[in-house]
Symmetry: C2
Subunit: 170 residues, 2 copies
Amino acid sequence: MTSETTPALAEDTALVGFQEHDHENCVDSALAIAESRCKDEGLRLTPVRRKVLEMLLQEHRALGAYAILDRLREAGFGSQPPVAYRALDFLVDNGFVHKIERLNAFVACAHPGATHSPAFMICRKCDAVAEAHSAPAKGALGAAARAVGFEIERTVVEAEGVCPDCTEKA
Amino acid sequence: MTSETTPALAEDTALVGFQEHDHENCVDSALAIAESRCKDEGLRLTPVRRKVLEMLLQEHRALGAYAILDRLREAGFGSQPPVAYRALDFLVDNGFVHKIERLNAFVACAHPGATHSPAFMICRKCDAVAEAHSAPAKGALGAAARAVGFEIERTVVEAEGVCPDCTEKA
DNA sequence: GGCATACATGATATGGAATAACATGACAAG
DNA sequence: CTTGTCATGTTATTCCATATCATGTATGCC
Ligand SMILES: [Zn+2]
Ligand SMILES: [Zn+2]
Ligand SMILES: [Zn+2]
Ligand SMILES: [Zn+2]
């Protein structure tokens, strides 16, 4: 794994997921970015953690914790729930992976590097997940929060619907 | 075996939108609206369903399915999971109750009557939940969806943070 | 009335998500 | 070498959710 893969970060900031792309490169570069960021920030991207991130990057879909666990077992890692949840906690806390609350499942971040407040589009037919940016404090919710004095720390924004591919097929 | 761990939120701080209000009346009127709407639309607000709605209206907090189940048992109804989940399905499908994905729990709708796309503010300290309106297709997410041809059918918008009461106490 | 249909309820069993609690191993300071 | 920290591993348990089959109950038609 040369860390020389350049930040070929999908430049259409919005949406990896519903678009064809060079997936090999996509996975490799995301892993490279993760390794580089961990080095910079003194985080330890251990084998289990790296493996989980790699699994999630391979799919552009959300995987449940037990699907992840199955693959960890196959790869020779521990196979008890905490093994997966701890790796996921690390990856989520550090912004490499997001949890999709609607699905109780996890997806690799499509815009690693910068901290951001993600929004997701989830296809209910094929389970594809695309990540966009959300503007949490702006809009109706932000206004309502300011009006009552609620301090927003984090937002969950998830849209459920049908992706372009599945719409086309129908 | 009961799964109730509630730290007894001070009773009279019951709040809709984090504001004090006449809670007796709030519950009664919401039940009346539900009954009237069910009559109009030919829906059957049966005893279990009514009881679950009433429970959720009493709290302005989200209750987990098993907390609901415990109370159903106490009230003499069936105590197996499907009993609660079926009642909840009915109430959610018809807009009387919303599911809070972040908590895997349920809360009574604060704006019954009109169909709407809710947004929630969840206090991570006291677990209070307030409901606001969201503008799903407007804003950054709507734009991203239109850009790729994703058809939004439903959105989950949940903000986590600290409510005015808890901010004040700190 | 007798009967078909739809719908609501009930109970059993199982699967999937998440965490608590405890033990072990690796490793870097001191 | 000892100590503290962090990561991993295992066991056990709890909570969330659904599939399945059985039973009851109302309604409308014959
Ligand atoms: Zn990719
Ligand atoms: Zn699709
Ligand atoms: Zn509502
Ligand atoms: Zn609070």
